[in-house]
Symmetry: C2
Amino acid sequence: MVEPLDTLPTPCLLLDEARLRANAERMRAHLAGLGVTLRPHLKTAKSLEVGRIAMASPTGPATVSTLREAEFFAAGGVRDLIYGVGIAPTKLPRVAAIRAGGTDLAIVLDSLEQAEAVGFHARASGDPVPVLIEVDADGHRSGVAPDDGDTLVAIGRALTEGGAELRGVMLHAGDSYGLRDPEALAAAAEHERLAAVTAAGALRAAGLPCPVVSVGSTPTARFARDLTGITEVRAGVYMLGDLFQAGVGSVAVGDIAVSVLATVIGHQRAKGWIIVDAGWMALSRDRGTARQAVDQGYGLVCDLAGRPYPDLLVTDANQEHGIVAVRAGSDAVLPDLAIGAQIRILPNHACATGAQHDRYHVLDGENRVTAVWPRINGW
Amino acid sequence: MVEPLDTLPTPCLLLDEARLRANAERMRAHLAGLGVTLRPHLKTAKSLEVGRIAMASPTGPATVSTLREAEFFAAGGVRDLIYGVGIAPTKLPRVAAIRAGGTDLAIVLDSLEQAEAVGFHARASGDPVPVLIEVDADGHRSGVAPDDGDTLVAIGRALTEGGAELRGVMLHAGDSYGLRDPEALAAAAEHERLAAVTAAGALRAAGLPCPVVSVGSTPTARFARDLTGITEVRAGVYMLGDLFQAGVGSVAVGDIAVSVLATVIGHQRAKGWIIVDAGWMALSRDRGTARQAVDQGYGLVCDLAGRPYPDLLVTDANQEHGIVAVRAGSDAVLPDLAIGAQIRILPNHACATGAQHDRYHVLDGENRVTAVWPRINGW
């Protein structure tokens, strides 16, 4: 199948395959140069076809954010997964079912309470489920403090004594999303590395195993200069890119591989508005760039070939209406787009915008549609 | 099927059927008292079962925001629909297919360009597609200015001369969402009514038909005191309710019929945080209450029975992590919730949170799950 872009029903999600492949290759080469394994996070793409481009092999390794993703990628042949969200004991039967199907699915936790429940489950089921202890890289979310060796060791002992496998530690330097300066980002990556190595050292000093030392976020993965002591890096947004990551500096606007195709459905000429059929339902409510130096509204507007119009944004959005206008203060001219004309909108956040859609329309180098790739949403 | 609530996998979307029915009945009685038809907007619920509770009969009338909704509800037996988003001529074949199936689907437009395209299509296809001219109630989005009789009449003539059916005018007073005072809301409803009546009068004075005069938004529907000259009201959020509408005053917090069920997956006790497995993917990125007098974060936290904890909010969210904490400045105490405990989260915006889910788990008066109702997302 090869179809012209302008025959697609709108709004819909487009994926530029060449940009995706270039983004995947850039991160792979960067991390190979640093001597670590890339374990791509598939929470952004949620697509088997994209995963196969990002992963080192069709069997993995990879990271997922939901058990539904784990089930989907396991069914698609991925055999090495981390479910990167703290485990609730009630979810262990689903984990066990995925593992019984032949996929080495590891889980994550950060408390003695969870470790005891997982150990109990491991002993009762006879499945030594592998566990990574989550370590708090920068205070932004979950995890044991990296210098809290007592808690790390207590969790590790509860796991191994219970019958689970202590596979290592994992961190996510989420605070790097608030940075912009390359030196500060490199420092955040080094901070993440040191926290991981410190936590791994505490386990090993107590005679506990820690074969995996896993870190990751797209900004720290991109700006890391030394990953000594780290075995693998998890990152996900880099594959698709978005305006928020462009604001951080992790990707260039010209690398963003996803966009929303929209059709002009009206004008309010006195106000300088073009109305399109992509509202927040198609773009998501994510306004991540509002906190950055350059606020991109609900998205940056491009022509059908994917070239940004100067300073043209989706400045506001209702559920199924987007309001396109020139950025406040800019002297750019509103393009003359008739009813029925189509545009492409680069999103604030690829994870959030992607989740509003159930498929990608895949584009070749001439912006023709060559395939439809399904996405897996939900839990 | 009747299941206890705490056996559901999390995160998932809950629907309190008694509250839904009470919300539907309250709006129906209010508008019946004002002598107008209620044409519920199904863009919030996106569910046939909810639609049947909200509609006057299983055949309608109703409003939809996407052609996929139109197809879904038409397949479910609804025979009287308005697709409430300005039409793109490329969508007319899909409209025609729905109409050919026996559903009286009307479309909306606000330009001569669209009217000519629709007229041409109507003549070519032999189907006199019914059209409502969108009128701009308050400058917030699309629509012809209500006092621009020349444009209204030109559009009306292009439609009728082309072969389409001019069915009337429609407005949406979206600016009412920014209000809070009941008197100001009643004034916004009156402003919407006057704009609609003015536009209808311009068409009729030119000898054009205008049998339908359609207005609507949940706040103006709720606070309207007189709807003389209006034939029908569209509203949608009122069925489910949300924290944003509670901030406007259109619903009470105790009327909110949707919530997200989540499980505790961690603690950061030194920070006063409880980590749950409902992040922005389950709650949506909608932070509508951030602009209101009371900012409810990513949602208000309730116990399993649906009773709000004092001042307990989802204060921040990552993709699959929610951070639950006491509202800043409050002296409320963080509840003692163990790993595995479940909570319910009332959302900022029912339309946005609902769209993150593909089904409702329906609760009876004792918070037991009695049914699963599918939702239709996408376009």
